[in-house]
């Protein structure tokens, strides 16, 4: 019954063939630039969580679990097997809800490409160029499968199709050709996680481990192919069309391949909370910049937004992760703290009486018209009613940081990086690393530069 795994005319062959041919000098320079931005942004986002106690415990566990510790765990002084380093990177990378994403597929391929890519690149002692190529390719594969996939109701994308970015990046960094890369993807699909999206709403931190597990399974899949393991002919269709997913629109996978680069359609985040909250937060920020008022003067605050965002309406989140998925907390903490960063979601902020009281006065409603405009738009409107009866309103069609809506410049990404990396690495080291990352394609051997990433 077994047939050759090379099916010359199917989408998997076309997709793997395309990404194995990617080299920086043959793809548009704008794509290369975006790849560098993803590299900078994602590195900072991983580093930002490395001092969290749970991540430190996990890093210690994974270093202990390693038999061939050739990969540095970022922001630590430990090494681990590439698979286990990827697990730590992935878990840390989604911790603060600051990692970039892709609004058309609804997932976050960047963190997987980086979490696995850096770990495997160091082990394989490849160049910075090769890592950038692997990240761009991994993003392309994952986002395109994501565009075509409808997951089962209740499933989360973390640990699922975005981890194809990890498998692809790992395989390419190991020098795989089209057929071995295809095998890697087919091996990976059965190691896909059956993840639940309630984890995020409830603030169950295993949600963060989903990303780490997915990145680790991507590395494992590539390593298994090297051991001689094989996967089914088309695991993408089986798993994402029928098991984890309910429908795979395979035509979308190859649509405008080579013309449209998915990494260029990704977004970056500066607010440390769920992406769905950002349009409302941006609208509120524009109101508060235009008008002077104190949190105490607010009678109530009404938010209308698209349906997915409107589900994030828990006014009394029980823990930091749940707070990152609470629209009322995000808006209230902005009004009280005048910031939208990591500190807004600390235990301290959760217990802040002012924030809690204000959050209870925020009403969130789904708007059918707005829902219909997704994913081209992800709209929100905010109305602040002051105690003196004055009403202030603003709306946003999309959050800032999209490629086609208020994109962030390189300086803004650098600023974000330094704000996140300076604590774990120290200011000087963070500045040096940032400089290196912007010129990462000139690095000849990543293994030689790994000290830049560690404490």
């Amino acid at each position: 019954m077994m047939q050759p795994n090379e099916q010359s005319d199917d989408f998997l062959n076309a997709l793997t063939g395309f990404v194995t041919s990617i080299t920086l000098d043959r793809i548009p320079s704008s794509v290369v630039k975006t790849g560098r931005r993803v590299l900078v942004d994602t590195t900072g986002v991983i580093l930002a969580a490395m001092d969290e106690p749970q991540i430190q415990t996990l890093a210690g566990q994974m270093a202990d679990a390693s038999t061939a510790p050739c990969s540095s765990i970022l922001g630590s002084h430990q090494q681990a097997d590439a698979m286990w380093a990827a697990l730590v990177h992935g878990t840390a990378g989604v911790w603060h809800e600051l990692d970039g994403g892709h609004r058309f597929s609804g997932g976050h391929p960047a963190i997987y490409a980086m979490a696995a890519g850096l770990a495997v690149a160091e082990r394989q002692a490849v160049s910075g160029r090769q890592l950038l190529e692997a990240i761009i390719a991994g993003y392309e594969v994952a986002a395109r499968v994501g565009l075509a996939t409808t997951l089962r109701p209740g499933m989360d994308t973390h640990g699922s199709w975005p981890a194809l970015a990890a498998a692809t990046a790992a395989g390419l960094l190991m020098g795989y050709d089209r057929s071995r890369l295809r095998e890697t993807l087919n091996v990976f699909t059965s190691l896909n996680l059956a993840s639940s999206n309630r984890t995020a709403y409830e603030g169950a931190t295993v949600r963060n481990a989903y990303a780490g597990f997915g990145a680790a399974m991507g590395v494992l899949a590539a390593d298994l192919v090297n051991d001689g393991f094989t996967g089914e002919r088309d695991g993408i269709s089986t798993i994402f069309g029928n098991i984890a997913g309910v429908f795979l629109d395979a035509e979308k996978i190859l649509e405008d391949l080579g013309e449209r680069w998915e990494i260029e359609r990704g977004y970056f985040r500066i607010h440390a909370c769920a992406r769905c909250i950002h349009p409302a937060l941006d609208a509120l920020i524009s109101i508060s910049k235009a008008h002077d008022f104190l949190p105490e003067e607010i009678e109530r605050l009404d938010v209308r937004t698209y349906s997915l965002a409107a589900t994030l309406n828990d006014a009394a989140p029980q823990n930091p992760l749940a707070a990152r998925f609470s629209l009322p907390h995000a808006l209230a903490s902005y009004l009280v703290l005048r910031a939208t960063g990591v500190a807004n979601y600390s235990q301290k902020a959760l217990q802040d009486d002012k924030i809690r009281a204000l959050a209870r006065r925020i009403a969130v409603n789904a708007d059918r018209g707005m829902t219909r405009r997704t994913p081209a738009q992800r709209p929100a409107s905010v109305r602040v009613v002051l105690r003196d009866g004055k009403t202030l309103e603003a709306s946003a069609a999309l959050a800032s940081g999209e490629y086609d809506h208020s994109p962030f410049g390189d300086e803004e990404l650098s600023k974000k990086f330094l704000s996140l990396a300076s604590d774990p690495l120290g200011k000087q080291k963070a500045t040096d690393l940032l400089d290196k990352l912007w010129h990462f394609d000139t690095v000849a051997d990543i293994a030689e530069e790994s000290h830049l990433f560690t404490k």
Binding site: M1, M2, P53, Q54, T57, L58, Q61, D64, A65, S66, T67, A68, D81, W84, R152, P153, G154, M155, N186, V187, T189, S190, L191, N192, L193, A194, S195, S196, R198, T199, E202, G203, A204, T205, V206, N208, A209, Y210, F213, M217, L220, D223, L224, N226, D227, G228, F229, T230, G231, E232, R233, G235, T238, I239, N242, I243, A244, N319
Partner: protein, 476 residues
């Protein structure tokens, strides 16, 4: 094997029942931490010892396969950690050792399984021991646990995963390896690591969150990633125990989300705790007499019956017809291309029995696929579904083999359900001989006998490493 002395318990705990304060996972967690060896009936411990021994045998038999061996050398090294990579002179960490040993364990498809979940249509049985044993062994080795602690962890760990399996119904496209029996691995590891009831509960729920979505298609296509499912499941269980120690938190009702929707559309939590502490699921499994998919066993056993009564020269076989139930009838590939494919081929398994009088590990290894005599017979075997046989499942799993010789004789043999399960268990001698056949090529006769002796008195062994040091080739 020497029996374990039963200490009759004086008090019987009442069953934990879910109520407003407690859910099924609370009850399972309480059971997992509070059960003592003294609570366990003698025959339960005997089952546990046999399942343990049988699993060690199949791990050793699988460990020498080239891909499993490459994986072992990649993830283990000499002195590379506290845990044994079975069949090799290599050591590793808990996570890496479970990944490697769990993968080797399913290679031969000769490992023992549990009864399938009730209801229609028939679902494949899950295989707890290949997830459970590697994790329990690694956790026990890492802290030098006693044989008694290890054995208790096996019994309770088996129950936790198996009961969640019985309370749900996996989607039919999902291969059960790598799914709920990682919860067995997790709870056994957590028990051996001294978890209290709160940490046990978190461990169980975190393991529920770390389920993969393995496709059955890989087994049909004979693709070897299918052998990694149990390794990943075992590792994920071990990882869940570690995440619980690092204070990662699960959802409030992880079981409801994952098993009442995402990978299983149906969940009855009450069923997971039915007769908990009274019926031990480890006694409800089967030990495989043949190294092939369990669904193929009735046909193979019927073929065995047939040739015992009517010895037929393989060259005289003209045609064979196998009438069996739906699942078995789908395993109809006459020309399997890989060892795994052969295990999921009724024609191959039946042909092996007709030609060699045996369907053990050696009849399915890659080298056996070149056996021209088996190949010649396999292409003469047609497998068909008999709807009456399908209707009789899961209580019965019938198969009827009809063989026609070139001289025109017609012989028939029929089996209602295959041996090895609770209603027709393999004799202890058969289990020991199966172990010997798998272990001796790897660790030699003397060490194999020593393992049999040690497992027989496992409850009295002060340090599990007295057993694991025997699981690597002699002289290494």
């Amino acid at each position: 094997m020497a029996g374990y002395e039963l200490i009759v318990k004086s008090e019987h705990k009442g069953p934990c029942l879910p109520n407003q304060e407690k859910d099924a996972v609370d009850c399972l967690a309480e059971y997992a931490v509070s059960t003592r060896l003294e609570d366990l009936p003698c025959e339960v411990l005997e089952h546990a010892r046999l399942v343990f021994l049988d699993t060690l045998g199949v791990i050793m038999g699988g460990s020498i396969e080239p891909q499993a061996s490459d994986m072992a050398h990649r993830l283990g090294r000499q002195g590379g950690g506290p845990c044994t990579i079975i069949g090799h002179d290599l050591q590793s960490s808990k996570l890496n050792a479970t990944l490697v040993n769990g993968t080797a364990a399913t290679w031969l498809d000769f490992d023992s399984g549990h009864r399938p979940p009730p209801g229609k249509p028939l679902l494949p049985a899950a295989h707890p021991p290949v997830h459970l044993v590697p994790a329990a062994l690694a956790a026990a080795e890492a802290r030098g646990a006693s044989g008694a602690e290890f054995l208790t962890a096996l019994v309770v760990g088996y129950d936790i995963g198996a009961r969640i399996g019985l309370a749900s119904r996996l989607r039919a496209e999902i291969h059960p390896h790598g799914t709920y029996h990682n919860i067995s691995a997790a709870s056994a590891a957590a028990r051996l690591e001294g978890a209290d009831v709160i940490r046990m509960k978190n461990t169980i729920a975190l393991a529920v969150h770390l389920q993969i979505t393995p496709s059955f298609e890989n087994a049909f296509q004979g693709r070897t990633v299918r052998n990694v499912y149990a390794g990943v499941g075992s590792m994920a269980g071990m990882l869940a125990a570690q995440l619980a120690k690092a204070n990662f938190s699960p959802e409030h009702d992880a079981l409801g989300s994952i098993y009442g929707g995402i990978i299983s559309p149906w969940l009855d939590p009450e069923r997971a705790v039915e007769r908990l502490g009274r019926q031990y699921e480890i006694t409800q499994g089967f030990i495989k007499p043949f190294a092939a998919c369990r669904f193929a066993h009735p046909a193979v056993e019927a073929a065995e019956k047939l040739i015992k009564k009517h010895p037929v020269d393989p060259d005289d076989i003209d045609a064979v017809e196998v009438m069996t139930f739906d699942w078995a009838a789908s395993l109809d590939d006459q020309k399997p291309q890989t060892d795994l494919g052969a295990k999921f081929s009724v024609p191959w398994a039946v042909a092996a029995m007709l030609v060699r009088g045996s369907a053990g590990a050696d009849e399915f290894r890659s080298v056996a696929l070149r056996d021209e005599r088996i190949r010649a017979v396999a292409v003469r075997i047609r497998v068909k579904e008999d709807p009456r046989h399908s209707a009789a499942t899961p209580q019965k799993r019938p198969a009827r083999v009809t063989l026609k010789t070139r001289h025109g004789e017609v012989y028939t043999a029929e089996v209602e359900r295959s041996g090895g399960g609770p209603d027709a268990p393999l004799s202890k001698e058969m289990v020991l001989n199966k172990f010997r056949s798998l272990a001796e090529p790897v660790i030699g006769h003397e060490q194999s006998e020593a393992v049999i002796d040690k497992v027989g008195i496992i409850g009295d062994i002060a340090d599990i490493r007295d057993v694991t040091r025997l699981l690597i080739p002699p002289g290494s």
